[in-house]
C-alpha cells in the first residue's frame, strides 16, 4: 500500500518517534521531506531549562536536544566533527534556536 500526502509518498515511518520520511518525484528530481513531531521535544526542553535554571554547569550537562535531521541539515554534526566549536556554540547561543536548548547557560 502506498500512503500519499498530495504528491508525496510515504517512504519511512518510525512508530516510536512519529518521524516520517516522504518522497516526491517531479520528473526531473527526487525530493525528500522529513516530518518530525517536535511539540513534545520543545516542551521537554522548556521544562528542563526551567528545572535547571540557575545551576552551574555540572559534570555532564545536556545543553541542547534537537531533532536529528535538523542537526544534520544545519551542518551542526559536520561542524562538530570538524572541531568547529565556535560555529556550533554560536548556533546554540542564538536566541532563535532557544527551543532546542535544555540548559540556559551561555556556551
Amino acid at each position: 500500500m502506498i500512503v500519499r500526502d498530495g504528491d508525496w509518498k510515504l517512504f519511512d515511518y518510525d512508530f516510536h518517534t512519529g518521524r516520517s520520511v516522504w518522497v516526491m518525484d517531479d520528473g526531473d528530481r527526487t525530493h525528500w521531506r522529513t516530518d518530525y513531531p517536535v511539540e513534545n521535544l520543545v516542551r521537554q526542553n522548556q521544562f528542563t531549562r526551567h528545572a535547571t535554571a540557575g545551576n552551574a554547569f555540572g559534570e555532564w550537562t545536556k545543553v541542547a536536544s534537537m531533532p536529528l535531521n535538523l542537526a544534520h541539515s544545519e551542518n551542526l554534526v559536520r561542524a562538530h566533527s570538524e572541531g568547529d566549536d565556535r560555529y556550533v556554540k554560536r548556533w546554540l547561543n542564538n536566541g532563535d534556536n532557544r527551543a532546542w536548548r535544555s540548559f540556559e547557560g551561555h556556551l
Binding site: I2, K9, F11, D12, D14, H16, T17, G18, R19, V21, V23, D25, D28, T30, W32, T34, Y36, P37, V38, N40, L41, R43, Q44, F47, T48, A51, T52, N55, A56, F57, G58, E59, W60, T61, K62, V63, A64, S65, M66, P67, L68, N69, L70, A71, H72, L76, V77, H80, S81, G83, D85, V88, L92, S102, F103, L107
Partner: protein, 331 residues
C-alpha cells in the same frame, strides 16, 4: 552563449546514470549515524592496508656528562588492513504488478532502487556496529568497529578485547562479558582513557535505550535533581530520537541514538565513542545498480550492489563501552 536548437541536454535525457551512492548518502543521514559521520574514500584492492606509527611514551631523560652513546632499536610501524565486504540488495517485480500499482514503470523501479539503496546503507551501518571479525577469502567480511577497539574500552566481567592480529592480518572478535547497566562511571572511564590516549571523542553512538539512560546522568549531585515530565499516554517519546549536546569534563560530546543498534541485543550492547578523524569507509565499488541483469520471464529484476571496507586509521582514537544492557534494563 546560446545553445543550438535541438541540442540534446542531460536535463532532457531520461536514461542517464545517477550516482546512487551519493543520493542515498544524502537521504536521511540520521538513519546511519556512524556511516554518515565518517569520511568516505576509495580503495583499489579488496584488501587495503595502512600503517600506524606512534611516539614512545614520555619518560625520564637524564644523561651523564661524557657518556658514550647507546642506540635503541627502532620499532617498525604497525601494518594494518581490512577486507572489503560485498553487500547486495535485489528485487523482482512481475510485469503485471509493475503496471497495476501505478502508471510509469520507471517511477516504480526508481522507487525500489532508492528504497533498496537506503536499506543497503543501513546494512553498511549494521556491519560497522556488529561484532564480526575480519574474514578473508571469497566471502570476505570487514572487521567491525568493536573488533578493532582495544585501547579505550570498558567491558563487563569476563569480557576480553579482540583487536587486530598482526600475524594473521585479521581482527579478532571480542569476548562478551557479563552485561551491566550503563553508568556515568563507565562513561567517564572510557572518556578518560580516550583523553589519555590522544583521542578526541566528539560523538557517541548508542542504542535508543542506552540514550535514555544517558539522559539520567544529568541528574548529577552537582546540579539540582529533577524529574522529567512523564509523557501523557499516547504521546511520543522524544528523548530517544534526538541529537543531544553535552558539556562534559572532556569537552562537548554529541550523543546519537542509533536505530541500527536497536536491531538485536548483540549490537545494542556496545556504545561507541568516535573521533571521526580516525575512521573512514572505503568503497571498492560504490553502491550502484547492476544494469546488466539479464531479463528472463515476465518480470523486472533489479540488483543493487556495493563493496567496501572500514578503515580504522588508529584504534586509539576510538572507544567502546561494551556489555551494556542495550535494549531494556535487563537485556
Amino acid at each position: 552563449m546560446a545553445v543550438l536548437t535541438n541540442t540534446f541536454q542531460t536535463t532532457q535525457a531520461v536514461g542517464n546514470r545517477e550516482e546512487l551512492s551519493d543520493v542515498v548518502s544524502r537521504i536521511t543521514p540520521e538513519d546511519t549515524p556512524i556511516y554518515s559521520l565518517i569520511e568516505k574514500g576509495k580503495c583499489t584492492t579488496y584488501h587495503p592496508e595502512w600503517e600506524t606509527d606512534e611516539l614512545a611514551a614520555p619518560g625520564a631523560n637524564i644523561r651523564e656528562e661524557g657518556e658514550e652513546y647507546a642506540f635503541g632499536a627502532i620499532t617498525p610501524p604497525m601494518r594494518l588492513g581490512n577486507y572489503t565486504q560485498i553487500m547486495r540488495k535485489d528485487w523482482i517485480i512481475s510485469a503485471t504488478q509493475e503496471v497495476t500499482a501505478e502508471a510509469g514503470n520507471v517511477q516504480k523501479r526508481k522507487y525500489q532502487k532508492l528504497k533498496k539503496g537506503v536499506e543497503i546503507r543501513k546494512d553498511v551501518e549494521f556491519a560497522i556496529v556488529d561484532t564480526n571479525a575480519t574474514v578473508a577469502g571469497s566471502t570476505r567480511e570487514f572487521g567491525s568497529l568493536s573488533t578493532w577497539t582495544i585501547s579505550n574500552v570498558s567491558r563487563g566481567a569476563g569480557g576480553a578485547n579482540g583487536g587486530f592480529n598482526v600475524g594473521t592480518g585479521l581482527t579478532v572478535a571480542p569476548t562478551e562479558g557479563t552485561q551491566r547497566p550503563f553508568t556515568k562511571a563507565i562513561l567517564d572511564a572510557v572518556m578518560q582513557q580516550g583523553y589519555q590516549n590522544g583521542a578526541n571523542f566528539r560523538h557517541v553512538s548508542v542504542s535508543p535505550y542506552v540514550k535514555s539512560v544517558f539522559v539520567t546522568f544529568m541528574s548529577d549531585s552537582n546540579v539540582a535533581p529533577f524529574r522529567y515530565a512523564v509523557s501523557q499516554s499516547g504521546e511520543r517519546n522524544t528523548i530517544v530520537a534526538t541529537a543531544d549536546y553535552y558539556e562534559g569534563p572532556f569537552g562537548t560530546v554529541m550523543i546519537h541514538p542509533n536505530r541500527v543498534q536497536a536491531v538485536n541485543a548483540g549490537v545494542a550492547r556496545n556504545a561507541f565513542f568516535i573521533d571521526s578523524d580516525m575512521l573512514s569507509f572505503l568503497w571498492l565499488r560504490q553502491i550502484q545498480e547492476d544494469r546488466d541483469v539479464a531479463k528472463t520471464g515476465d518480470a523486472d529484476k533489479g540488483v543493487i550492489i556495493g563493496e567496501g571496507t572500514l578503515k580504522v586509521h588508529n584504534e586509539r582514537g576510538l572507544g567502546v563501552a561494551a556489555d551494556l544492557f542495550g535494549l531494556s534494563s535487563a537485556s
